[in-house]
């Protein structure tokens, strides 16, 4: 009999609180890629937006693709290619007054345009990222294997920001 213990991508990593921001790993729950065969299907989020559905969110993640985060797949399986992505991504939350400032060090998009309810598929340093604007900051999804690098890059920026503020 096998008893497999689950580990999150940044298992054991304590949150980092510094310089007006809090960086922490978040458990995204069930994450399912929804890729409708007909891209004009109703209920599919517009590019760069998040459609909230109760506790679940449907986050646009690319051309004809959205991630259903925290909810059951339901009827999507009938009209879309449905793929489990729950283990493929690491979730990070970056919250606090300095969150925009920190993210602007690493992400080449205009964060002024990213209000709560918006999302962007872009890059964080040299890795792919999904940025979701949430109240008080951002949620960031990076590939699981790169979670340590993402953490390291964000932590480095936060550290330098702290030193700047201390000047």
């Amino acid at each position: 009999m096998v008893n497999l213990i689950a580990k999150s991508p940044l298992w054991g990593q304590a949150p980092l609180v510094s310089a007006g921001v809090t960086l922490a790993e978040v458990d995204l729950g069930q994450v399912t890629s929804i890729a409708p065969f007909d891209m004009a299907v109703p209920g599919f989020p517009a590019p760069n937006t998040v459609v909230a559905d109760g506790a679940a969110r449907l986050v646009w993640t690319g051309r004809g693709q959205a991630f259903l985060i925290g909810g059951p797949v339901g009827d999507w399986a009938e009209v879309a290619a449905v793929t489990d992505q729950s283990d493929g991504w690491a979730g990070l939350s970056l919250l606090g007054a300095g969150a925009v400032d920190v993210l602007a060090r690493l992400v080449p998009v205009d964060l002024r345009r990213l209000a709560v309810g918006d999302c962007a598929r872009t890059q964080l340093g040299h890795m792919a990222v999904i940025v979701i604007a949430v109240a008080g900051g951002f949620e960031l999804l990076v590939f699981r294997s790169m979670a340590q690098t993402a953490w390291h890059e964000l932590a480095t920026v936060i550290k330098m920001r702290g030193a700047r503020l201390a000047c």
């Binding site: 009999m1 096998v2 008893n3 497999l4 213990i5 689950a6 580990k7 999150s8 991508p9 890629s33 890729a35 065969f37 004809g64 693709q65 879309a80 290619a81 449905v82 793929t83 489990d84 992505q85 729950s86 283990d87 493929g88 991504w89 602007a104 060090r105 992400v107 080449p108 998009v109 205009d110 964060l111 002024r112 340093g125 040299h126 890795m127 590939f143 699981r144 294997s145 790169m146 340590q148 690098t149 993402a150 390291h152 890059e153 480095t156 920026v157 550290k159 330098m160 702290g162 030193a163 700047r164 201390a166 000047c167």
Partner: protein, 969 residues
């Protein structure tokens, strides 16, 4: 010398610093240059070529002479402009390009030989004897050249990069820039105002002007207070906009920590990528010198910099100052100095009709023709009314006029235009889309007009963005014009410097013209004019005026060389921030990483991933011992290997099968559900792109695997084929590489191990979903080792647990983990290819897989693969075994036995080699001319680099279990 009551430095905050080992005192707010001048230090550097004594010449980033090394701990920063470097407690700087000391520099001997060291002399000599160039001449030249030194140690300081976005970027916070920012701020636009100085205000801080009847500095303070308070404005001090790039992108360098003693975690610099809807260039103008004999002595400075040192730093750069100018502006310097009690010996004005109404002697129609003073100016000679007059003076302020700082407008190949009335180049309109030029940078030279122009240009820029702009009130200030009579050089028989930093004189320019280097670019390249750290900011215009004179052309016709980014030099560390150590590319870790590290496995980089090389056991000294054991373990029992790095792509839809038929050479539409097939994929040009196995999980659901190296490439290729060629097809795919942790279980005991986990009786090349407790896993019966093999995949969160579990089970069966080294041996023994073989120049025919190109269908790359050059006379994949089981090496070349070893006889090369513990000897895979027809023949293998030269027997590439009985077993 400090002047009481002048300047903005904090007299209550003394700062101690050292220059060339001597301690000095300055004040907070001083630059190194102002503090040295205040201490009476005039000699600060040596020139590039002739090692002439040099002093501070300017008060800005264009400084050509006062370049120093700043020391911090074990690090040092070369070529720091003393005119920009702010002092801080404990700052340590030293002069450079001199030996043994600044005052007594041995290479000053070059100056004596200067008549032989003129423009381009080195192209004409040092050619004989030939060997001497590299052994004698060049090393001497290299040692003499250069300026400052790097420490030679890794720069481990922090640097930062950042992105910023705004509606309007205003470059320069002088009068025009402040008005532009104010206009935009009040219009509600998002504004970034960037200025290279520590304090904003530009020349308003350095001049004694009035705005609205008040001192200009009060006006600056009011405007800054308003801008600071505005939520839509971002002030970026100490930030130089260095380049204009496409799409409204600007590069900018912020000096974050350079004005402070090093602090932990504080970045030294931050390189900004600023994206602006529109931009206003209000960079101002720079004063230029005049070329006359001996114009490079310490104490000879631009006239405006004397004013800056006086008004901004409270420093008189000399006790007895003379002014030499061809325009009105320099008069203000004389007036300010006199008002501060500094003796102005004379004003020498080249204009015959200039005003003489100053409280000091004014000589009009006069020209300076010589200077004296070895380490600092002691006197000048000037020509006046046909006679020569000598004056004792320790400081000469020179003004040849002002050059608008048009540089950024040229970064997209814009060409500045000559304005004869201003005797200056002004920006070409529209040269950089979205960049508007305001104030002195646009050739607007009165304060009153600059203020108005700044607001006006900002309003125009905002209108482009669709902002409704209410014009703001323009404050009152002097609107007097700028009268100039061009004077570029005072001709004489001795050297007159143009490019101080590169030691280029008017003679060099004339000689270049004489030798036919008459194009401005030729002159630049032949003389090195403008190629020094100041990039000719101080000298290019003067030099081309001299060239124009020498060639008889006008200045406009002569043209300028191209200004290119950066506007002022930027450290590699700043633009390369984040690159040091691990930062250059993301690190990718498998779920088994820590478990492998715990077992002492050296982790090696493989396509951004880290994979275990081997798992050493006690007593094993070399990697080979571990590798041989791991191979034997797989061949005799069972081995476990993390193969999660292979690309995995989930493909779904009614047209998924059809899509795979298009991208693979072979057919996948006929693959039964629950089965796996090996596939070969070609590039559009017919060469092998990648290979891997693809499983059919359901009628319309496949999961494809790619090699680790090609995972991203294949994904991009699939997207292209789907989006470009398969319009309307119902097929969707997504990478699931990261979703699944996948482990190979291989060896005669593999099935035994799998049976302890789950019930699944899979045929060879079968696949199924299985339950591991609560976890649904995917089980594939495939093999890359030639043994009976499985790959089992679980959601990645369980990866580490499953890996540990599999190892425990394997160990009870006499097995264990194996790493990349053993994996490589296993696959070579079996003749399986990797990207060592399919290296991008290889066709399906080369690797003996022609049969995998289905005759029944077309596929991507098939047409191109049939080009004659890809079919005939090529090298084919073979196996090699050396006679005597001696060592062979990958990268060796193959020859017919007895043939001379030279390119013309080259018949192939070895791609992969291993020692096979299974077969007891070295094995190689190679590409050999006509190789498939030569099995059983001998070839000569030569590796010059490793000294290997021996005979090998050519064979089929499959060495182990040719019939595949074990695999299917």
């Amino acid at each position: 010398m400090r002047i009481e009551g002048k300047g903005r430095v904090d007299r209550l905050a003394p700062v101690r610093f050292r220059f060339d080992g001597v301690e000095y005192r300055g004040f907070e707010g001083d630059t190194l240059a102002s503090a040295l001048l205040a201490n009476g230090v005039r000699l600060v550097g040596r020139s590039f070529k002739y090692h002439r004594p040099r002093g501070v010449m300017t008060a800005g980033s264009e400084e050509p002479n006062a370049l120093v090394e700043v020391i911090d701990g074990r690090q040092q920063t070369p070529n720091v402009r003393a005119t920009v470097q702010e002092i801080y407690e404990g700052l340590e700087a030293k002069s450079q390009n001199r030996w043994p000391s600044l005052k007594y520099d041995v290479l000053a001997v070059n100056d004596l030989a200067s008549r032989f060291l003129t423009a381009g002399f080195y192209y004409k000599t040092f050619m004989w004897p030939r060997k001497f160039w590299e052994r004698i001449y060049e090393p001497l030249i290299r040692r003499a050249a250069g300026l400052g030194s790097l420490s030679g140690r890794h720069d481990e300081a922090e640097y930062e990069k950042a992105f910023a976005f705004c509606d309007l970027l205003v470059i320069g916070a002088g009068p025009a820039g402040l008005m532009a920012a104010l206009q935009a701020a009040r219009a509600g636009a998002d504004v970034i105002l960037a200025d290279e100085a520590a304090q904003m205000g530009g020349r308003l801080l350095a001049d004694s002007a009035e705005i609205d009847g008040k001192p200009a500095q009060d006006w600056v303070a009011e405007v800054l207070a308003e801008l600071e308070a505005a939520p839509n404005v971002r002030l970026m001090r100490r930030t130089t906009v260095t380049g204009a790039y496409d799409g409204g992108t600007f590069g900018a360098l912020e000096r974050v920590g350079l004005h402070l003693a090093a602090r932990p975690d504080l970045p030294r610099e931050c390189f900004w990528r600023i994206v602006a809807g529109q931009a206003v260039l209000a960079a101002g103008a720079q004063e230029r010198m005049i070329a006359f004999e001996g114009n490079d002595r310490p104490g000879i400075m631009t006239a405006s910099s004397l004013r800056t040192y006086l008004n901004q730093y409270g420093v008189a750069a000399g006790k007895r100052v003379t002014i030499f100018a061809n325009n009105d502006d320099a008069r203000q310097t004389a007036r300010d100095l006199m008002a501060a009690g500094v003796t102005v010996v004379a004003i020498i004005d080249a204009r015959p009709d200039a005003s003489v109404a100053e409280d000091c002697p004014v000589y009009t129609g006069a020209e300076v023709i010589g200077t004296t003073g070895r380490h600092g100016l002691t006197g000048i000679t000037f020509r006046y009314h046909g006679g020569e007059v000598q004056l004792a003076t320790d400081c000469l302020g020179v003004s040849g006029g002002w050059n608008p700082l048009v540089h950024l407008t040229c970064h997209m190949n814009g060409r500045p235009q000559w304005d004869g009335a201003l005797a200056a180049f002004v920006p070409q309109a529209g040269a950089v889309p979205g960049l508007h030029v305001a104030g002195a940078a646009a050739g607007v030279f009165s304060l009153g007009h600059c203020l108005a122009h700044g607001a006006e240009v900002a309003a125009a820029a905002l209108a482009v963005l669709g902002h409704k702009v209410a014009p703001i009130a323009v404050p009152q200030a002097d609107e007097a014009g700028y009268d100039i009579m061009p004077v570029w050089e005072v001709k004489g028989s001795r050297r007159a410097w143009l490019d101080f930093a590169n030691d280029v004189t008017t003679k060099d320019v004339r000689q270049a013209a004489q030798e036919g280097f008459a194009s401005v670019e030729h002159m630049k390249r032949y003389t090195t004019q403008g190629m020094a750290p100041d990039q000719g900011k101080n000298s290019n215009i003067g030099a081309l005026a001299v060239l124009a004179d020498a060639t008889g052309r006008g200045i406009a016709q002569t043209g300028v060389t191209t200004y290119r980014p950066p506007f002022s030099p930027v450290s590699i560390a700043a633009i390369g921030a984040g690159g040091r150590a691990e930062g250059f590319a993301p690190q990718r870790f498998m779920t088994s990483h820590s478990a492998s590290v715990e077992r002492g496995a050296p982790m090696i980089e493989a396509g951004l991933w880290y994979r275990p090389s081997y798992f050493p056991r006690p007593g094993e000294v070399t990697w080979r011992q571990a590798c041989d054991r791991e191979v034997a373990m797989v061949r005799s029992a069972v081995g476990v290997c993390d193969v999660s790095t292979l690309g995995k792509i989930d493909i779904q839809g009614r047209d998924a099968a059809r899509f795979l038929d298009l991208v693979y050479t072979n057919v996948f539409s006929t693959l039964p559900i629950g089965r796996v097939r090996y596939g070969l994929m070609l590039r559009a040009d017919g060469h092998v792109l990648d290979d891997g196995t693809t499983a059919r999980l359901a009628e319309n659901h496949y999961v494809m695997t790619t090699t680790t190296a090609a995972a991203g490439l294949v994904m991009r290729h699939l997207e292209f084929v789907a989006q470009a060629y398969c319009a309307g097809w119902e097929v969707r795919f997504i990478s699931v590489t990261e979703q699944w942790a996948q482990f190979a279980v291989a060896g005669p005991m593999a099935k035994t191990l799998i049976d302890t986990l789950t019930q699944a009786d899979l045929p060879f090349m079968g696949c199924a979903l299985v339950q591991l407790g609560d976890v649904t896993a995917r089980l594939f019966r495939i093999s890359f080792s030639g043994e009976q093999g499985y790959e089992i995949a679980v959601p990645a969160r369980y990866g580490e647990a499953l890996f540990r579990d599999l190892l425990a089970r394997a160990e009870t069966l006499g097995g264990g983990p194996y790493g990349m080294e053993a994996l490589n041996v296993l696959r070579i023994e079996k003749g399986f290819i990797t990207h060592s073989e399919i290296h991008g120049r290889i066709t399906a025919f080369d690797i003996g897989m022609a049969k995998m190109i289905s005759a029944k269908k077309d596929c991507i790359g098939k047409g191109a693969a049939l080009r004659p050059g890809l079919l005939e006379g090529r090298e084919q994949l073979v196996g090699l075994r050396p006679v005597n089981d001696a060592m062979i090496s990958a990268g060796a070349h193959l020859f017919a036995p007895g043939a001379e070893v030279k390119r013309e006889n080259d018949q192939g090369y070895v791609t992969s080699v291993c020692y096979s513990p299974t077969l007891g000897g070295y094995l190689g895979l190679a590409f050999l001319q006509d190789g498939r027809a030569r099995h059983g023949e001998m070839v000569r293998l030569v590796d010059h680099l490793r000294g290997i030269d021996l005979l090998c027997e050519v064979s089929d590439p499959v060495f182990y279990d040719k019939e595949g009985g074990l695999l299917r077993g």
